[in-house]
């Protein structure tokens, strides 16, 4: 299952979902190969494998057996159910483009929703790391699961979106997006823009961004998005200035 999903990411996720296992009959060799792989991972769920087989008496034994050994390995069980077990069914032919007649847009949406659903199911179960996020001036706090993100950038984007309604809107909220940029840090601290800080395991208030991401996730207990001026007041500025001196 893992491998199948990763495959989708590598191949450009959105595009793979376009076909949903309905390869065209006049496609070039390259796309045909990709499509075959896709077709296989599309038939991931148990419900669908049986249905694929029924369709039109034209559904194929998935010709993917040769295409990708890893897929085959992981989906051996499913592969077996694809072969027509019912002798009454006529021999399989090629799959059919454009059948059933569902708009491509709808097919794509469903596929995206399915895989997002699967991913979020996976994301929810192992030890989520929810921390409170407060922003100075906002009427209430939010909670985020730090394990949902892979980098400071992702966290920053998400927080920016979460709290954008409380900022004076521009086309870009420069403050949030620039906090990772060291050279702009002094501008941020001196201006009224916001600075993300966090409370670590020792109870100290730290500037977000100093330590590697994984270490941050382990040690962060809560987040606070401070107004720049307050951050200086907390003594974060000297540390930041020292860092930028060292870097330059």
């Amino acid at each position: 299952m893992e491998v199948g999903l990763k495959k989708k990411e590598n191949m450009g996720f959105e595009e793979t979902e376009l076909r949903l296992g309905l390869p065209g009959n006049a496609v070039s060799a390259a796309t045909e190969e990709v499509v075959r792989k896709r077709g296989f991972s599309e038939t991931d769920t148990d419900d669908e494998t049986a249905a694929v087989d029924l369709m039109l008496n034209l559904s194929s034994k998935e010709p993917t057996t040769g295409a990708d050994p890893t897929d085959k390995h992981n989906n051996l069980r499913k592969e077996k159910t694809l072969l027509p077990a019912d002798p009454a069914k006529p021999p399989a032919k090629a799959q059919v483009v454009g059948w059933p007649p569902v708009r491509s847009f709808r097919k794509n949406m469903l596929a995206v929703q399915k895989s997002v659903g699967e991913e979020s199911e996976k994301n929810r179960s192992p030890n989520p790391s929810f921390v409170k996020v407060s922003m100075d001036g906002a009427p209430y706090l939010r909670k985020v699961d730090l394990k949902m993100y892979k980098s400071y950038r992702e966290l920053s984007d998400s927080l920016g979106n979460m709290f954008s309604s409380f900022t004076i809107g521009n086309c870009e909220s420069q403050g949030m997006k620039d906090f990772m940029n060291e050279s702009k840090l002094m501008d941020l601290l001196n201006s009224s823009d916001y600075v993300p800080t966090y409370e670590d395991k020792d109870g100290d208030w730290m500037l977000v961004g100093d330590v590697p991401w994984e270490m941050f996730v382990e040690s962060c207990k809560r987040l606070r998005i401070m107004k720049g001026k307050e951050a200086i007041g907390l003594g974060l500025a000297p540390r930041a200035m020292a860092k930028s001196k060292n870097r330059s």
């Binding site: 059933p100 847009f105 954008s164």
Partner: protein, 573 residues
């Protein structure tokens, strides 16, 4: 008698004639009426953008305010039309801009819309009010930003099921503070994030906003704030419904929903938590006339059933087949005013436990006002169709899709000819019909005999011989669009009555038995038709030999001649 009235009087009378067809008829009465009609015509519908040139249209209707254009053939929806076939809107916008037509409304379906066209559109028509794009592609959020920024009196921006590239610019923020005229905003099909702050402020300054459809990126708490600001909303599309049932945001939303007494139409739920409960929505269900949960993958059938029990006034229902036959039984018991039903497959090839003929029969028994149906199911029987035909004689649109396209009657193993025959015989007002399942030429005999009002017919994997197609061409006098795939219809059927095609908008035939020679012959006999053949073979030296079978053919009547924007693989004969 009418000749003694001054033009102004006749114009005034024509004002009351709104429908395109009636207007077309008026213009044919006499030269004087033609002249008056063309000067007063404000709304024009062009079903095939290649049937006429924009310049010619503008010459005839200089007072044009609202234009509807359709581009690609219908089967393009199912990936049967290659990528760059055509349907570009830019030449139309360019011509309209040059001519200084006071365009206020543009509605496009299955067309290629570039950012350049949107930018030109936004800058060229000061009173532009309404843009509706359905199943279009070719543009990005940059184009939307231009519309937002430049159309000062914009009332409607309605994006339905378009493929839009997201450039992560903040297009929604480009609506200026001075824009307060929005009545309808639908961006449900966009994949990317929007600035929630800008969205909320936009809603807050749009007192006339009646219809708002959000995309999946808009979270629940933002939804709640938006609904607070717009209690006058009549039509709402929920983006993300993902929530923690115990969260403050969800509790707030439940309370806010209670205040939205004007909501009559609900859609979306593009993202739902697992085991989602829709109890928060129950209070507004009794007011709903339209409910579209066809994109709410992840809502269980049992939850859908619980919801539907509250929807006593429903007239339109779009839902997924996980509601099941049992659920359709509940719909039949509850929704006595139901007029339109669409049941979509929840998995690419359908959910085996989903809907069958039983659900449809239940609906027909409980919903006598039903006139439009799109039904994806696993199986059907003649008996069921005969019952449905008897219970619902008012069908205007009847589209049945049995997922296994060659499946016969599930009980008797007979073809479904008799069932569909009953439908056309009983539903004398039927305008649109889509067939599926195992079908012989007999069904076409019935269609030709009884379907007098039929305008659009979609056929797939059906029939036995040319006779089938001929029954239809000879019998259906009002036929406008015929689309056929994978049927054994060939040259004899194609060529027997070539004059027929000039009375129709278009004919599509793919994977049938027609040959290049027959198409050439047809094109030669009928200069007012464009006969296009798609030659998708990669081989360079592939010349079109007469005996060769045609994979895809699309022909349409036109006043514009051979089009100049066709890609290489399209041969216009």
């Amino acid at each position: 008698m009418m000749n003694y009235f001054p033009d102004e009087v006749i114009e005034h009378i024509f004002d009351y004639v709104a429908s395109h067809r009636d207007r077309n008829v008026l213009s044919l009465v006499c030269k004087s009426w033609y002249r008056i009609e063309r000067w007063t015509r404000q709304r024009v519908f062009i079903g095939n953008c290649y049937s006429i040139t924009p310049e010619r249209l503008i010459r005839r209707f200089p007072g044009l305010k609202s234009l509807t254009l359709k581009g690609k053939p219908h089967f393009a929806d199912f990936s049967l039309v290659p990528y760059d076939w055509g349907g570009f809107v830019y030449p139309w916008i360019e011509a309209l801009a040059k001519s200084r037509v006071g365009l206020e409304e543009l509605r496009l379906k299955r067309m290629v819309v570039s950012d350049e066209s949107l930018e030109l559109l936004s800058r060229s028509f000061t009173h532009f009010k309404s843009l509706v794009l359905v199943s279009c592609e070719g543009f990005t959020t940059d184009g939307l930003a231009a519309i937002a920024a430049n159309c000062r009196f914009l009332r409607e921006l309605d994006l339905q099921e378009n493929e839009v590239e997201d450039h992560k610019g903040q297009w929604l923020s480009c609506f200026p503070d001075s824009c307060t005229s929005l009545v309808s905003l639908n961006f449900a099909c966009l994949k990317g994030e929007v600035s929630l702050g800008a969205l909320e402020r936009l809603v807050a300054r749009s007192p006339n906003l009646k219809s708002l459809k959000l995309n999946r990126s808009v979270p629940l708490d933002a939804l709640q704030r938006i609904m607070m600001r717009a209690p006058q909303l009549a039509d709402l599309g929920i983006g993300s419904f993902d929530h923690d049932p115990e969260s403050e945001a969800y509790i707030k939303l439940k309370n806010t929903i209670l205040k939205c007494r004007s909501l009559t139409s609900l859609s979306g739920f593009l993202e739902v938590p697992p085991h989602c409960s829709l109890a928060a929505i129950y209070p507004i269900c009794p007011n709903l006339t339209s409910l579209n949960l066809s994109y709410a993958a992840g809502i269980q059938g049992s939850e859908l059933i619980k919801l539907v029990r509250h929807c006593v006034k429903l007239q339109r229902l779009w839902i997924m087949d996980c509601i099941g036959d049992e659920g359709l039984g509940v719909v039949a018991m509850t929704c006595k005013y139901l007029q339109e039903l669409r049941v979509f497959p929840s998995a690419p090839y359908g959910n085996p436990a989903a809907v069958t003929e039983k659900g449809l029969v239940a609906i027909s028994m409980g919903c006598p006002k039903l006139h439009s149906l799109l039904y994806f199911c696993h199986q059907m029987t003649n008996a069921a169709l005969i019952t449905v035909a008897k219970n619902c004689p008012n069908f205007i649109r009847f589209r049945l899709c049995i997922l296994d396209a060659l499946k016969p009657d599930a009980d008797t193993m007979q073809p479904l000819d008799e069932g569909f025959g009953a439908i056309v015989q009983s539903c004398r007002q039927l305008r649109r019909l889509s067939l599926s399942g195992r079908l012989t030429d007999q069904v076409f005999l019935y269609i030709g005999m009884y379907a007098e009002q039929l305008e659009m017919l979609s056929i797939a994997f059906a029939g036995e011989s040319d006779k089938g197609m001929l029954y239809v061409l000879n019998g259906c006098k009002k036929l406008r669009k015929l689309e056929i795939r994978d049927c054994p219809f060939g040259n004899m059927a194609l060529l027997t009555d070539v004059g027929k095609y000039e009375t129709m908008r278009s004919l599509w035939m793919s994977s049938c038995e027609v040959t290049v020679g027959a198409c050439k012959s047809l094109a030669k006999k009928m200069p007012m038709l464009n006969v296009e053949i798609f030659n998708e073979n990669e081989q360079e030296d592939c010349s079109l030999e007469d005996g060769q079978r045609v994979e895809k053919m699309y022909l349409y009547r036109t006043l514009a001649g051979k089009r100049k924007d066709a890609p290489e693989y399209v041969w216009t004969l």
